[in-house]
C-alpha cells in the first residue's frame, strides 16, 4: 500500500501560552483517534506548535483504506425460506432492499441461530476524501479552557464553530495534494486550506516583506521555511534556544536568574526567543524582594537576577539593535517599582492592626459578609486550636487579627498575589514580634501539594493557617456553597488539602503536634459559624457533607504515599475521629507490616477469618470449651499478648503492636491446619467463631487487614 505524508498547520491568532503544551499533545491524540476509527494506520504522528500555529505531521499515511468485506444480516432463516427451500417474499424483499441478486443471498450462522444474509464488499475510501472529516472532528474536539465565538462555521453540518482563537490560515497537504477544507467566517473571506503558511510577524529574510505568506510542499520545507522566517516550530527546540539566550545574559550580568518563573511558559510566549538585559536604579533595592519579584515575574514575565537590581526579559525579536526594547522594558519595570514603592510607604503610614475596621468593606462571600466577620471567626477558632495543642494564645490571636488586614493595603490591591506576604512584611516593619509577623506572612501556605507551595513558618502560622482554611470550609458549606465537579469557585478543595497538610505535616516540619481529630475541628468551626451567623441556608446539611469532603482530601493526600487498599484498611476502622497523625502512623505501620514475611501468611488467614465470620454473630469465648490443643494454644497466646498489644495500640505504637501480634502467625497457621472451625457441634463451632472474632478484633484496632488486596504492596 502506498503511503504518503500528511501535513496540517492550523494558523491562529495568538494562543495563550499556558494552553499550548496540552493543546499540542491533544491535537496528536485526537487525530490518532480519528485515524484509528477510519482504520488508517499511520506511521508516526507528531505534533508541534507556537502561539500562532498548531502543526500535525504524519510521516506516512495509506493512500486509501483497505477493501473489506462486511456481513449484512437480514431476517431469521425460518421466515426467509419456505418448505420447498425457495426464498420467501421476506427474503426477496431483503435482497432488493440491499440491491443484490437473490443468488447472492447466504445463510449466516450465529449464536442466536441461523439468519439470512450476504457479504458486502466495501471498497476502501480514498484517504484524501476522508481527511476533511477527520480534520473537522479533530478541530471540534480540541478542548480550550475558554472558547470564543468568532462567527465561524464548518462544512460538517454541525454549524457554528467556536474555538480558542480565530483561525486565519491553514496548510493541509496529503502527499502533494491540498486536502480541501473550508471555514466560513461572517464578513470575511472563507479560510481555505492551501500550501501557504506565514512566518514571524515582523522578521524575515532580506528582500521579503515580513509576515508575507509563503508556500511549502512538505513538513521539511515548513520547518526550514519557518526557521528562515524566525519561527522555531518545535517547542523543545524553543526551550533550548531560550536557555542559551538566558545563559548568555547571565554570564554578561555575572548573576543568575532567580527561580519562580516557568521557562517553558516563557518559551511559549514567543516564536523566536531572544532576550535583553535590563536594570533598575539601586533605590528600588530597598523594596522587599518579594515585591520586586512579583513585579518582574507575575506582571512582566521577566526573570529577576539574583543579588542584582536587574532582570532578563525574553523577547520575540532576534536582536535589539537600537536598544529600544531594553529601554522600554526598563521603563515599564521602573514605573511599576515606583508604584510599588509608593504603596509600600503609604501602606506603612497606617499600623496594620488599625486596618481591621476597614475589613468591613471587603467582601468574603455574599451570604457570609465581610472579611471582618471572617477574621473574628478565624481568631476564635485559632485560639481554640492553640489551647488544644499547646500553642501560645497571645501571638496566635494577634496573628489571626492581623492576618487579613493587608487586604485593605494599596500593595495588595495592586498585587493580589502578595496577600499574606505583605501583611507579614508590614507587621515586621511595624515591629510586631517575630512569631506574629512570620505567622501572618505564611498563613496562606501551603497552597498545594508541592514543595514549592510552602508551609507555615512557625507554630502560630500553622494554627492560623489551619483556622483560616477550616473556617472557609465550614462557613462556605454552611452557606450552601459546596464544590461540585469542576465547579469550585472559592478553591475549597485547595483549602481542604492545605488544612490536611498542616494537620499531617506540622509534627515533622515544625515539631508541633496538632493532635485534634479533624471531626472535632470541623464541628467547632461550624459551631463558631453558627454562633456568629445563625440560620444560614446549608447549615443543617453542612456537617456530614464537610466530613465527607475532608475525608476525600485526606485520603487523596495519603494516596500519594500509600495504596488504596491500605487506605481502605485504615479508614474502615477509623477516620476523622482520630488525629491525622494517628491515621498516618497506622498507615505507616500497615505498609511496613505488609512487606514483612509474616504478613503474607497472616493476610491469608485474615481473608479466611473474614470469609468465615461473614454474616456470623459470635458470642463470647468460653475458655473451658476448647477441644483441640491448637485452639486452646491460640486462645492462650492471644490472651498473653493482649495486654502488651493493647498498651502499644493505645500509645499509638502501631508498628510494634503489629510486630507483636504477628508472632501469632505460626499458631494461627496451625489452628487453620488442625482445627475445623465449622464443626458440626453448634456450641463447639460458636466457640471457635468467637475465638476468631476475638483475634480479628484485636488486629482491627490497628486496621481492617481483610481489606488488603494480596499480591499488592
Amino acid at each position: 500500500m502506498k503511503r504518503l505524508p500528511f501535513l496540517w498547520e492550523i494558523g491562529c491568532e495568538e494562543i495563550p501560552a499556558s494552553w499550548l503544551p496540552p493543546l499540542v499533545k491533544e491535537l496528536k491524540q485526537r487525530f490518532e483517534k480519528e485515524l484509528e476509527a477510519l482504520a488508517l494506520e499511520p506511521k508516526s504522528v507528531e505534533s508541534y506548535g507556537t502561539l500562532r500555529r498548531l502543526v500535525l505531521y504524519v510521516s506516512g499515511l495509506a493512500e486509501k483504506q483497505q477493501d473489506r468485506v462486511e456481513q449484512v444480516s437480514g431476517p431469521p432463516l425460518k421466515i426467509a425460506r419456505d418448505e420447498s427451500g425457495a426464498w420467501t417474499k421476506a427474503a426477496l424483499g431483503f435482497a432488493s432492499k440491499n440491491g443484490i441478486e437473490p443468488g447472492e443471498l447466504e445463510v449466516i450462522s450465529t449464536a442466536k441461530g441461523e439468519y439470512l444474509g450476504f457479504e458486502r464488499k466495501i471498497k476502501g475510501g480514498k484517504t484524501l476524501h476522508l481527511l476533511p472529516g477527520s480534520m473537522a472532528s479533530t478541530l471540534r474536539s480540541l478542548s480550550f479552557p475558554k472558547f470564543m465565538n468568532w462567527d465561524a462555521t464548518l462544512a460538517d453540518g454541525k454549524g457554528a464553530f467556536p474555538f480558542g482563537r480565530p483561525i486565519r490560515w491553514m496548510v493541509a497537504l496529503f502527499g502533494e495534494k491540498v486536502v480541501p477544507f473550508e471555514i466560513q467566517v461572517v464578513g470575511s473571506p472563507a479560510v481555505r486550506s492551501g500550501r501557504k503558511t506565514r512566518g514571524h510577524r515582523f522578521l524575515g529574510p532580506k528582500g521579503e516583506k515580513p509576515g508575507q505568506p509563503f508556500a511549502v510542499d512538505s513538513f521539511q520545507q515548513l520547518t526550514r521555511g519557518l526557521r528562515k522566517r524566525y519561527v522555531v516550530l518545535d517547542p523543545e527546540e524553543r526551550r533550548e534556544r531560550l536557555a542559551i539566550e538566558i545563559a548568555k545574559l547571565e554570564k554578561k550580568a555575572r548573576s543568575r536568574s532567580a527561580p519562580g518563573l516557568s521557562r517553558d511558559l516563557v518559551a511559549d510566549l514567543v516564536e523566536w526567543p531572544g532576550a535583553v538585559l535590563g536594570a533598575y536604579p539601586e533605590e528600588f533595592s530597598s523594596l522587599p524582594e518579594e515585591v520586586r519579584a512579583t513585579v518582574l515575574i507575575h506582571h512582566q514575565h521577566y526573570f529577576p537576577l539574583e543579588g542584582k537590581p536587574g532582570f532578563i526579559a525574553v523577547t520575540n525579536m532576534a536582536k535589539d539593535s537600537k536598544g529600544h526594547i531594553q529601554r522600554g522594558t526598563e521603563r515599564v519595570v521602573v514605573a511599576r517599582l515606583r508604584d510599588a514603592k509608593f504603596f509600600w510607604s503609604e501602606d506603612l503610614k497606617t499600623p496594620l492592626g488599625d486596618r481591621g475596621k476597614a475589613l468591613e468593606g471587603v467582601l468574603f462571600q455574599e451570604e457570609l459578609g465581610s472579611y471582618k466577620l471572617k477574621g473574628e471567626r478565624v481568631e476564635t477558632l485559632a485560639a481554640w486550636i492553640a489551647a488544644r495543642c499547646g500553642a501560645r494564645e497571645t501571638p496566635v490571636r494577634r496573628a489571626a487579627q492581623l492576618a487579613k488586614c493587608d487586604l485593605t493595603t494599596g500593595m495588595v490591591g495592586e498585587f493580589p498575589e502578595l496577600q499574606g506576604i505583605m501583611g507579614g512584611l508590614y507587621a515586621r516593619e511595624q515591629s510586631e514580634p517575630e512569631p506574629v509577623w512570620k505567622a501572618v506572612y505564611s498563613h496562606y501556605q501551603p497552597m498545594g501539594l508541592g514543595e514549592d507551595d510552602g508551609f507555615p513558618a512557625n507554630r502560630e502560622g500553622a494554627v492560623v493557617s489551619l483556622a483560616d482554611k477550616v473556617d472557609s470550609l465550614a462557613a462556605m458549606f454552611a452557606a450552601g456553597v459546596i464544590p461540585t465537579g469542576s465547579r469550585d469557585p472559592f478553591a475549597l478543595r485547595r483549602a481542604a488539602l492545605g488544612a490536611v497538610r498542616v494537620l499531617a505535616e506540622s509534627s515533622d516540619r515544625l515539631s508541633f503536634e496538632i493532635d485534634i481529630p479533624p471531626a472535632e475541628l470541623l464541628r467547632e468551626a461550624l459551631r463558631i459559624v453558627r454562633e456568629q451567623q445563625p440560620g444560614l441556608a446549608g447549615e443543617g446539611k453542612a456537617e456530614p457533607a464537610l466530613v465527607e469532603f475532608f475525608t476525600e482530601r485526606l485520603r487523596f493526600l495519603f494516596s500519594r504515599k500509600y495504596s488504596y487498599d491500605e487506605l481502605n484498611a485504615v479508614f474502615a476502622m477509623t477516620g476523622l475521629d482520630r488525629p491525622v497523625s494517628d491515621l498516618a502512623k497506622r498507615l505507616e505501620a500497615l505498609s511496613l507490616f505488609r512487606s514483612s514475611d509474616d504478613f503474607q501468611a497472616l493476610s491469608l488467614a485474615f481473608k479466611r477469618v473474614g470469609n468465615i465470620l461473614a454474616g456470623q454473630k459470635p458470642g463470647e469465648v468460653d475458655p473451658g470449651f476448647f477441644f483441640e490443643d491448637d485452639e486452646k494454644k491460640l486462645f492462650e497466646e492471644l490472651e498473653t499478648l493482649r495486654p502488651r498489644a493493647e498498651e502499644l495500640i493505645s500509645q499509638g505504637r502501631y508498628r510494634e503492636a503489629l510486630q507483636e501480634l504477628s508472632t501469632l502467625r505460626g499458631t494461627v497457621d496451625r489452628f487453620f491446619d488442625e482445627v475445623l472451625v465449622m464443626a458440626e457441634d453448634r456450641k463447639l463451632r460458636e466457640n471457635r467463631l468467637a475465638l476468631l472474632k476475638r483475634l480479628q478484633s484485636l488486629f482491627s484496632r490497628v486496621a481492617d487487614l481483610s481489606q488488603l488486596v494480596s499480591g499488592e504492596s
Partner: protein, 286 residues
C-alpha cells in the same frame, strides 16, 4: 509625537479605512466601551465601524496629580469593527506604524487578557498588546453585552493614549507630555486631577450622590417602560458613574456594593434587550 497629533493620526488612519469618526459621549463614563456607539452598536446584526476618543473617568485612580502614571481621567481611543475583519491584527499593527512605531526594532506582543464588565453584563476574549513590555492597547472580541450573546462578533480596540504617547515622547511623567506644540499635559490637565481627586475622595456629598444614584436608576426604569431606550441608557451611565463616585469616597459597604452592581447590571441588560427588540424584525437576525 505630540498628544493631539497622536489622536489625529490614529483617527485619520481608521477614517481612511472607512471607519466613521464619532465624538466623545457627553456624559461621565469609566471607559470607551460604555459609549452607546460601542455598548449598543455591538448588539444586533448591523455591521458598524466607528472610532472616537473617550475621556474615561475612574475616580478611585485619582492621585491628586502626584503620580506620574495614574490619573482619575485618562483618554481612550476606541475602535469598533463589526464584524471583525480577518486581518484585524494586521490592520491594528499598521495603525501603530501611523503612530511612528517601527515594529522591526520593538517587541510587540499579544498576551492573553480577557475583559469583563460585571456592571454591563459584558465580556470578551482577547489580549493586551505589549510594546516592549508596556501595555498600550486592549484588544477584545466581544462575546456578550447586556447579557446578550453577540453575533456577529465585534472587535474592540482600545488604545491607552497617555501611555502610548509617553512611550512615543520618551517621558516618564504623564504631566511632561507635550499635548500641543509648547503646551504640556500638566498645563491642560493638572488642576483637573488635583481638584477631581479632592472632589472624589473628600468633597463629594455622599447622601446626595446616593440619592442621585437611586433616582437615576428609577428614572432609567421609568424611561425604559416608556420605550425610551437611549435616554434610559444614559441613566445607566449616570448610575455607573455615581456608584464609582461613592466607591472612591469609601461610602460603599460590602452588601451595598454587590447590590448596586446588580441593580446597574439589571438596568443595562434591560436596555440591551429593549434595544435589540426595537430593531426592525428583519434586522434582528443576521
Amino acid at each position: 509625537m505630540i498628544f493631539q497629533e497622536l489622536i489625529f493620526n490614529l483617527t485619520k488612519f481608521w477614517s481612511d479605512r472607512g471607519v466613521l469618526v464619532h465624538q466623545p459621549y457627553d456624559l461621565e463614563m469609566g471607559a470607551g466601551t460604555m459609549h452607546p456607539e460601542t455598548f449598543l452598536r455591538v448588539l444586533g446584526p448591523h455591521p458598524w465601524k466607528v472610532v472616537y476618543v473617550q475621556p474615561s473617568r475612574r475616580p478611585a485612580d485619582g492621585r491628586y496629580g502626584e503620580n506620574p502614571n495614574r490619573l482619575y481621567k485618562h483618554h481612550q481611543l476606541q475602535l469598533i469593527l463589526k464584524p471583525s475583519p480577518s486581518d484585524i491584527q494586521e490592520q491594528y499593527l499598521e495603525s501603530l506604524k501611523a503612530c511612528g512605531i517601527d515594529p522591526r526594532v520593538h517587541d510587540i506582543r499579544f498576551e492573553e487578557d480577557n475583559w469583563e464588565s460585571p456592571t454591563l453584563g459584558a465580556w470578551g476574549i482577547g489580549w493586551q498588546v505589549l510594546l516592549d513590555g508596556l501595555e498600550i492597547t486592549q484588544f477584545t472580541y466581544f462575546q456578550q453585552a447586556g447579557g446578550i450573546e453577540l453575533s456577529p462578533i465585534a472587535a474592540e480596540i482600545t488604545y491607552g493614549l497617555e501611555r502610548l504617547d509617553m512611550y512615543l515622547q520618551d517621558v516618564d511623567d504623564v504631566y511632561d507630555l507635550e499635548w500641543a506644540k509648547g503646551v504640556t499635559y500638566r498645563e491642560v490637565r493638572y488642576r483637573d486631577e488635583v481638584e477631581g481627586s479632592r472632589y472624589f475622595f473628600e468633597a463629594a456629598n455622599v447622601e446626595l450622590t446616593r440619592r442621585q444614584f437611586e433616582e437615576a436608576r428609577r428614572e432609567g426604569e421609568r424611561l425604559l417602560a416608556e420605550g425610551l431606550v437611549l435616554p434610559a441608557y444614559e441613566q445607566v451611565l449616570k448610575c455607573s458613574h455615581l456608584f464609582n463616585t461613592l466607591d472612591a469616597r469609601g461610602a460603599v459597604s460590602v452588601s451595598e456594593r454587590t447590590l448596586s452592581i446588580l441593580k446597574v447590571r439589571e438596568l443595562a441588560c434591560a436596555v440591551a434587550r429593549a434595544y435589540v427588540d426595537s430593531l426592525a424584525p428583519k434586522e434582528r437576525t443576521a
